[in-house]
């Protein structure tokens, strides 16, 4: 029998309350497979505050602490400190927050945590809008996207500001490990979580997690769209370990419009805007390659 590339143990049991084709459920499942049962999760307001199930049920087999929206960074520091004073240094502490809870309302507490370099892993599952409240734009929403607060209308009021690069913000904190990952590449995702958990200090992983409901897409295309996000360079996969950047996937480039056209949220985007965005993504990709090249000289 071939060797399994993904741990067999399931710590996310059947019965979650997510939508059909939810990328965030895949993110949780893979993260827990990597982290194992000696893990405590801290979850703020987000889809995952509801998806484990209504009290007294939960589909997660690890302890969970639910917290106010903006407190994940502080909450995981508190759990870590309490475990350490009780001699439980071996227990993993993972914050599991959405993109709004990370890029927007939670960024202050996250910055504080990273500044202290507390020994925790922060996962940002990125579905590019406030999905739990019903698809409002967040700092992580990309240019051109329809959301209920960027409703297009007759004036083209789609999202105008670029997707906030939270990974870059975390790199600027000089924490020991920052990575991006995708639910389309579980082996890569699990390897990154394992690596992060082997390092002491604050670790940050941003996981691209498609949301069929909010993206107006076919729920059967979650993995395909997540793959195209990487190949179109809309969401490149990389890791930065002690300042050394490695692009962990360099697939053959695919046109941005193919990625966008699978999602109803981009349907209204004019050709010129798509071309402009593609140029920006290509430039960003060149910049990543340059940063990777520069990293090779890091002592």
């Amino acid at each position: 029998m071939a060797k399994l590339t993904i741990p067999e143990e399931e710590l996310m049991r059947a019965g979650h309350m997510g939508c059909l084709g939810c990328g965030a459920t895949m993110a949780m499942r893979y993260v827990l497979k990597a982290a194992g049962p000696r893990t405590i999760l801290s979850i703020p307001a987000c889809c995952w505050a509801v998806m484990p199930g209504v009290w007294p049920n939960t589909c997660l087999a690890v302890p969970e602490l639910y917290t106010p929206f903006e407190t994940t960074g502080a909450s995981i520091s508190g759990i870590r400190a309490a475990l350490d004073v009780q001699g439980q240094e071996d227990v993993n502490v993972i914050g599991f927050a959405g993109d709004g809870g990370t890029a927007d309302i939670g960024i202050q507490a996250l910055s504080g945590c990273a500044d202290r370099n507390d020994n925790v892993l922060y996962i940002m599952y990125d579905n590019e809008a406030y999905m739990n409240t019903g698809i409002q734009r967040s700092g992580s929403t990309p240019v051109g996207a329809w959301t209920t607060t960027t409703p297009v209308g007759k004036t083209g009021a789609w999202e105008k500001s670029p997707k906030k690069s939270v990974a870059d913000i975390m790199i600027a904190h000089r924490i020991p490990y920052v990575a991006t990952a995708s639910v389309a590449y579980p082996e890569d995702l699990i390897r990154k979580v394992n690596k992060a958990l082997s390092i002491k200090g604050t670790k940050f992983i941003q996981i691209y997690s498609p949301c069929p409901t909010g993206w107006k897409m076919d729920p059967g295309l979650t993995v395909k769209i997540a793959r195209e996000a990487v190949s179109s360079r809309a969401f490149p996969l990389f890791e930065v370990e002690e300042g050394v950047m490695t692009i962990t996937m360099k697939p053959k480039k695919t046109p941005l419009k193919e990625y966008l056209h699978m999602q109803g949220r981009f349907r209204h985007m004019p050709r010129e805007l798509i071309e402009e965005q593609e140029k920006i993504l290509d430039m960003k990709w060149e910049e990543l390659l340059f940063r990777e090249e520069c990293s090779k000289n890091t002592p």
Binding site: P37, R38, T39, I40, S42, A49, V50, P52, G53, V54, W55, T58, L60, A61, V62, P63, E64, L65, Y66, T67, P68, E70, T71, G73, A74, S75, I76, S77, G78, I79, A81, A82, L83, D84, V85, Q86, V91, Q108, A109, S111, G112, D115, R116, D118
Partner: protein, 400 residues
């Protein structure tokens, strides 16, 4: 037991150390700052075995405190004024999560205009959060209260957070003699924090998960019952502390010369010390006066208020803040506790000492005179609420 001269803030830090707080998460704010400095010193010197999380805000301070407590550690934090206001959301969370953490708040006025001086609005605005509130009169009481508050909060029938209030500068930065109890004595009174309800990888459970309406109300009802039960637990904790140290703070209310008093003043904090001195003077003059100093605001001392209602001619309520609707918070609370009670003596609200303005013996004397007049002649045109000493254009010398 060692006697030392210390500020209220040092007494706070020593209280946290003697209570063996294991995790401290705090953010500096005037006039609380020297608490966190002192705790950092005690940890750096190896005298206090705790992990100090240097958070980036008070909101995070309380969030980290809750998480640490829910992971089974004895957790502590301290703040003041705007810091407490920023914590508001998380104070509610701490109570809902049944977190037995202790917070010391240095009572300071809310801006604008900017002020760093004593005022009770910060704490009174947290009335409905589900956090127990103790109010200290002197530095000894602050130190003792930190220890007593953990004893009450960690009681399995209670499991609610507790806040100890101390007046800005009057206590926080004023040195007084304080008995530092022996660690063995404190350990005897306050055993290590142990709870089965915590984040534990060997017994995984979810804390604070989503809930439907039929169950939510049950959780709130249980919380209310615990808060009610805290009255007796606080009285017992106070008696036990007295047995060990000889010091009692009267449970929920500190009654001073109230036994045969006809006129009493009810209020909280340091101005009540001044009021007690005035009572001593007035007693020498043959006047039957007393002081009911609020020791615990949440849960509210209902029985104590009704005990007084049965005995006195009139009650003056001193509020060091206002609700900006009608009346000071203590005035409204006291009145509502007497309404369904058989006897209701007249009460009058005196708003005084707001934003750190001095409360002097002559003010207290004037208030007692006014209260006696009210009991004989009624409120008059002025009504039942009096901002005592409001200048309204007069020069300060005339009034202060």
């Amino acid at each position: 037991m060692v006697k030392d001269i210390m500020t209220g803030n040092k007494a706070t830090a020593y209280g946290a150390m003697l209570a063996r707080a294991q995790v401290v998460a705090a953010y500096p704010i005037t006039p609380q700052t020297t608490i966190v400095e002192r705790i950092a010193d005690l940890i750096a010197e190896g005298k206090m075995k705790a992990k100090y999380i240097m958070v980036e805000s008070e909101h995070s301070a309380m969030a980290a405190t809750i998480a640490a407590s829910n992971t089974g550690a004895r957790a502590f934090t301290a703040t003041s004024s705007h810091g407490l206001a920023l914590m508001h959301e998380v104070l509610m969370w701490a109570a809902g999560a049944r977190t037995p953490a202790v917070l010391v708040n240095v009572n300071r006025a809310m801006a604008p205009p900017w002020s760093v001086y004593a005022d009770h609005q910060d704490a009174m605005a947290q009335r409905d959060t589900g956090v127990m509130q103790f109010w200290a009169e002197n530095n000894q009481e602050i130190l003792d209260s930190v220890i007593i508050a953990y004893k009450v909060a960690e009681n399995k029938d209670i499991l609610l957070p507790a806040m100890i209030n101390q007046d800005a500068f009057y206590l926080s930065h004023t040195s007084e003699p304080v008995d530092i109890p022996d660690q063995e004595l404190v350990d005897q009174y306050l055993p290590p924090f142990e709870t089965e309800v915590k984040l534990d990888v060997d017994n995984p459970k979810g804390f604070g998960s989503f809930i439907m309406p039929p169950q939510y109300m049950e959780f709130r009802g249980h919380m209310a019952r615990s808060m009610d039960k805290a009255r007796e637990v606080i009285r017992k904790a106070d008696r036990e502390w007295e047995e060990l140290t000889g010091r009692s703070y009267g449970g929920l209310m500190d009654m001073y010369r109230c036994e045969d008093a006809e006129f009493i003043l009810f209020g909280a904090g340091t101005m009540m010390s001044t009021a007690k001195d005035v009572v001593d003077e007035l007693r020498k003059e043959g006047r039957k006066v007393g002081i009911a100093r609020l020791r615990v605001f949440r849960p509210f001392p209902v029985d104590e208020v009704r005990y007084l209602a049965d005995r006195v001619h009139a009650i003056g309520v001193l509020d060091r803040t206002y609700t900006f609707g009608y009346g000071g918070p203590l005035f409204n609370e006291m009145n509502s506790q007497m309404y369904n009670h058989g006897k209701r003596p007249p009460t009058k609200n005196y708003i005084i000492g707001v934003g750190g303005r001095d409360v002097r013996p002559k003010h207290i004397r004037g208030i007692f005179d006014d209260l006696e007049k009210v009991s004989k002649e009624g409120y008059g045109e002025e009504g039942e609420i009096h901002w005592w000493g409001l200048l309204d254009g007069k020069t300060p010398e005339e009034e202060l």
